[in-house]
Symmetry: C2
DNA sequence: TATTGTTATACTCTATAACTATA
DNA sequence: TATAGTTATAGAGTATAACAATA
């Protein structure tokens, strides 16, 4: 028994009913968990979410330009520079030249880059299996449909 | 018809199949859309996601401490200070004193704070109706169940 | 004129360590 | 000793403006 007069601020139940009424709140909280686990998953490969995403897109789309990649990742071209610098510095990709446009770079993954990417993607697949353990195919489809409709509601 | 020899880097379809194989990728992209719309929704009230969340929790839990609030929001106590400073500076909340513990503050919303919160929450409700327009109750329940299970998978 | 990549800059969110005053 | 709040600081992610080279 603790001293009644010393009882701390009371382990009060915090009421977050208002917040839990918003779907976006649940999405944010869930995404935080996913992001933390994914960050830890990618760390052994020396990758972050952004560098990993960029590397995947370069591996899967050899020759694409920084502008195209920035558009695909939905980030500013200027913010992509340091990401590409980092991948290039580790010799995971190269900045090749586009034949008919001397302004643009043709981004290509090196063999090292492709191999690292493959391993990191495999780790991400494990990460997803861990996070979405009890997710059956039908529920997964429903989830993806909702998320896509949200993403497509952007300009409406 | 454009000049064949001048055809730009080709409006190539970027292949993002690998990324779209990850549920987390869809969640991130959807959340970006939600966040952008929510930020714009809160701007007229001079609130950001974090200040709005803090204000709601203070309105709904009068007297809670900064430590309790930080725990509820899952952010560091140190990062909460500027948030509370901002809300207090706008006289939306006050830092009252906890009776039996002179270390802690008892956070309470002012009348102004409660009124602003009410309006902002109403705007957020509209925002959610806009974003999740075609979401029936059953699908919504499924979505929330999945998100909760992700959040609860934190320490497993 | 417009586009590609770049630099500089600033703002927000996040994480850690160290301090003070209280307990 | 441990806890509440605070300060300082650093690392990321993001957004805008302006520039050189090229189209």
């Amino acid at each position: 028994m603790t001293h009644p007069e010393r009882t701390p601020p009371a382990p009060v139940e915090i009421n977050d009913d208002t917040l839990r009424g918003f779907v976006g709140y649940h999405i944010k909280r869930a995404f935080n968990v996913i992001q933390d686990d994914l960050t830890a998953t990618l760390k052994p490969f020396g990758l972050r979410m952004l560098t990993h995403t960029a590397l995947i897109l370069i591996v899967d789309n050899p020759g694409l330009s920084q502008s195209q990649l920035a558009a695909a990742m939905d980030i500013e071209r200027s913010n992509l520079v340091v990401i590409i610098d980092e991948l290039e510095g580790r010799e995971l990709i190269i900045r090749d030249r586009v034949p008919n446009d001397r302004r643009a770079y043709a981004l290509k993954a090196t063999l090292t880059g492709r191999r690292l990417c493959e391993k990191a993607v495999a780790a991400c697949t494990d990460h997803e299996a861990r996070i979405f353990a009890g997710l059956d195919t039908s529920t997964r489809d429903t989830l993806l449909k909702v998320l896509s409709s949200v993403r497509n509601s952007q300009n409406s």
